[in-house]
């Protein structure tokens, strides 16, 4: 049964992942990536954006970032929306995201510390 095999595999994953835990940073000092998950956000493609962010973080071995959700913030026409919140920095809101742009933000903003101006919310 594939089910049982999978559960055994989970036990193996636990042993591997345990070693990563020591490297974890306190939550307060972590960067947060927040994806808008209101109805408009989901309809506009927030799910693939979220999955692309998780995948890019994994590929680049970034473990000190929290990925989370928020409801509607009233900028529905700009969905999918992604906020990057770094400690001691003003929040940056990226608009009209898609999986490719979201991956670009992980690389440029999270890794290279460079805000991607062309995707930032226009003045409103």
């Amino acid at each position: 049964m594939p089910v049982i095999k999978s559960m055994e595999e989970l036990e193996k994953i636990r042993k591997q992942a345990k070693d990563m835990i020591n490297l974890r940073v306190d939550n307060e000092t972590k960067t947060r990536i927040v994806v808008g998950m209101g109805t408009c956000g989901i309809a506009a493609g927030a799910r693939p954006v979220m999955l692309a962010i998780l995948d890019e973080l994994k590929k680049r071995n970034i473990t000190n970032v929290i990925v989370t959700e928020t409801g509607c913030i009233g900028l529905c026409q700009y969905e999918p929306l992604v906020d990057v919140i770094q400690p001691d920095h003003p929040k940056v809101t990226y608009v009209n995201m898609n999986p490719e742009k979201a991956r670009e933000i992980v690389v440029k903003h999270i890794i290279n510390n460079q805000v991607v101006d062309e995707y930032v919310v226009p003045n409103i």
Binding site: P2, V3, S6, M7, E9, L10, E11, I13, R14, Q16, A17, K18, M20, I21, V35, M37, G38, T39, C40, I42, A43, R47, P48, M50, L51, L54, L57, K58, V67, T68, E69, G71, C72, I73, G74, C76
Partner: protein, 182 residues
């Protein structure tokens, strides 16, 4: 929305907004009765009777950021336009249960889509919440219970990338299995 799994993600988002700590998602594909039933139950803050009646009206929302609430009306519309029905039950302080049904073979019925993607997104965003996802096709059943997974994982967080990959594969493999291994 193009997939029912996106409606599910959206409606679960309401449960998260209502501060639920346990959320149950049940999908039943009853081939004999030609019926698809999607049920979402939470132990969040719930609604009183008056409010429960109003939620199917698109001009009702408790949000302050936008004048209309779209999530539930869109789901109601999806069900009713596929020969189905929609029910909502809620009790203040106890929680909410919604049930949408669809004629399985209805030509306008959106596909269920990727439940693996919906569950991985939910678990990644809210590892603190317990999700129980149960999917039946005929007499075959598959259950993903994050409480069980947490027990196996012990100190390893549910949103660890390796764990998320495992959850995705676990769901995909099991759904294939209960669909006859196709």
């Amino acid at each position: 929305m193009r997939e029912l799994s996106l409606h599910i993600l959206d409606v679960v988002q309401n449960s998260l907004g209502a501060k639920a700590s346990v959320i149950e998602i049940n999908i039943e594909e009853n081939i004999k009765k030609d019926l698809l039933i999607i049920e979402i139950k939470d132990n969040g803050s719930g609604m009183d009777e008056k409010m429960t009646k109003k939620v199917m009206d698109p001009f009702f929302t408790t949000r302050t950021t936008r004048k209309v609430g779209l999530g539930i009306p869109l789901f109601v519309h999806a069900a009713k336009s596929c020969g189905g029905d929609f029910k909502i039950q809620s009790e203040k302080g106890k929680g909410t249960a919604i049930e949408a049904s669809f004629v399985l073979s209805h030509i306008d019925r959106a596909p269920i889509g990727s439940m693996a993607d919906t569950m991985v997104s939910l678990v990644a965003m809210r590892p603190d919440v317990d999700f129980v996802y149960r999917h039946c096709v005929g007499d075959q059943v598959f259950i993903l219970d994050t409480q069980e997974i947490k027990k196996t994982l012990q100190e390893v967080p549910l949103n660890n990338p390796m764990v998320l990959d495992w959850i995705k594969r676990f769901i995909e493999d099991n759904l294939k299995e209960i669909n006859g291994g196709a």
